[in-house]
């Protein structure tokens, strides 16, 4: 029979946990809102850039000689960027991604990939598994995004063009909606421009300054940046969404636990009262008899 006081203490502690989880849920919801707003704000740039790229690519025709679009015949060296969160308590957000990424990385041939990790969670994961460490960035959510993405993309593009890597991949959680995030492997370089839908109507008769193929050469690195920025924004939104869901579940579980503990407590209290009554009654009977 559990002691009344023990149950009461337990209820108190679960209540405190519930307070924390529900506060975290609210914070995550507010941050999710901000993250999705940032993603919405980034959209016009991406759409505009895609539209212009398509038009410029169509105008440049076969006269395209930019290394960013060329697929290499033998692929031995890969660069992989893994985006995860810095903090835990967000359900399976990081684990789902890392558990898929790890076998995928092993499959990609025998050459160890050049891995750049973002977020403490993936850093720890790869370090524990003895992955050759390349570069880790922790607490990335606090850094100015334009800067880290600018630096990262300059490195990736430079490495790719100068032959340091043959392919560049980005591994991140795609933000589908607030309850679904899908681990995604995106091939960043060489760029696949066809995916952007080259068939769309060319918009008007433009002059180009300088010619279309040099514009293309300059715009492609910018396009790489927007793709990476989008991956970052989706990771951020996904993290907050996952935390919100996880904390919502935790709050519900705590409420259930409190309900069942309260029931136990009342049962124990009643049992104690009944026991005392029986003792009194039987004591009185013993005196009478």
């Amino acid at each position: 029979m559990p002691n009344l006081k023990d149950i009461k203490t337990r209820i108190g502690s679960v209540k405190k946990t519930r307070q924390i989880t529900s506060a975290m849920k609210l914070v995550a919801a507010a941050k999710l809102k901000r993250a999705t707003d940032a993603a919405t704000a980034a959209k016009p740039y991406k759409e505009k850039l895609e539209g212009v790229l398509r038009r410029v690519a169509a105008a440049a025709g076969d006269d395209v000689d930019t290394p960013l679009l060329q697929t290499r015949e033998t692929i031995t060296k890969r660069a992989v960027v893994v985006l995860s969160s810095d903090r835990g308590l967000c359900g399976g957000f990081n684990n789902n991604l890392l558990r898929k990424a790890s076998p995928w990385l092993t499959e990609q041939g025998d050459q160890p990939a050049h891995v750049v990790t973002f977020g403490r969670k993936s850093t720890g994961y790869f370090a524990k598994r003895g992955w050759p460490e390349a570069r880790n960035v922790e607490d990335w959510a606090k850094l100015p995004k334009a800067e880290i993405i600018g630096d990262l993309c300059d490195q990736l593009v430079t490495g790719f063009v100068d032959g340091e890597f043959d392919e560049v991949w980005v591994v991140y959680n795609e933000f589908v909606n607030a309850i679904t995030q899908v681990p995604t492997f995106m091939k960043l370089l060489p760029l696949a421009l066809e995916d952007a839908g080259e068939s769309s109507a060319p918009g008007g008769d433009y002059r180009y300054e300088p010619d279309a193929s040099s514009i293309l050469g300059t715009l492609l690195p910018l396009y790489v940046r927007t793709l990476v920025l989008q991956a970052f924004l989706e990771t951020e939104a996904g993290e907050h969404a996952a935390r919100m869901t996880a904390m919502d579940n935790a709050t519900n579980n705590a409420s259930d636990l409190i309900a069942s503990l309260t029931l136990d407590y009342n049962r124990a209290r009643q049992a104690a009262i009944t026991k005392e009554l029986i003792e009194i009654v039987s004591g009185a009977q013993a005196l009478e008899g």
Binding site: A38, A41, A42, P44, Y45, K46, K48, L49, V52, R55, V56, K145, A146, G150, D154, V157, T158, F160, V161, D162, G204, D205, Y206, R207, Y208, E209, P210, S214, I215, T218, L219, L222, R225, T226, L229
Partner: protein
């Protein structure tokens, strides 16, 4: 006959500025490019430099990073990696960035992409210092 230009300046993070203007001066690949209403349709590369937007109430100068401008008879859309109003430029940071880019350039082989990236960064830092 258009009498004013609708200008949108868009960066990856946000729409930096949007409104009507009389004239726009852009740092283009072939030199400063002045755009007045009724300009020919043009797609121009924007290089790191200082842009000026002239509106009815005055003018505002911005430091642009590389990007491009889509110009039509009644509108100008500029997409640039960053757009900072000149008053908000952090000179100390620009100086540090310039030094870092110069160091990168000194170490890089001039034929490589690394050198091109360093040159672009240098140009952006210089533009910020000039602002």
């Amino acid at each position: 006959m258009a009498t004013s230009l609708h200008v949108d300046i868009v960066t990856p993070q946000l729409a930096a500025w949007s409104g009507e203007a009389q004239q726009v001066l852009l740092p283009a690949h072939e030199g400063q490019l002045g755009v007045l209403p009724d300009h020919d349709q043009l797609l121009a590369l924007v290089v790191p430099g200082i842009a000026t937007v002239y509106t009815a109430s005055g003018s505002q100068r911005y430091v642009f990073d590389s990007g491009f401008a889509e110009i039509g008879p009644d509108r100008v859309t500029v997409l640039t990696e960053s757009c900072i109003p000149v008053e908000q430029v952090d000179k100390a940071k620009a100086k540090a960035d310039l030094a870092a880019a110069e160091a990168d350039l000194a170490n890089a082989n001039l034929a490589t992409e690394a050198a091109r990236v360093a040159l672009r960064r240098m140009a952006h830092a210089k533009a910020r210092l000039e602002a």
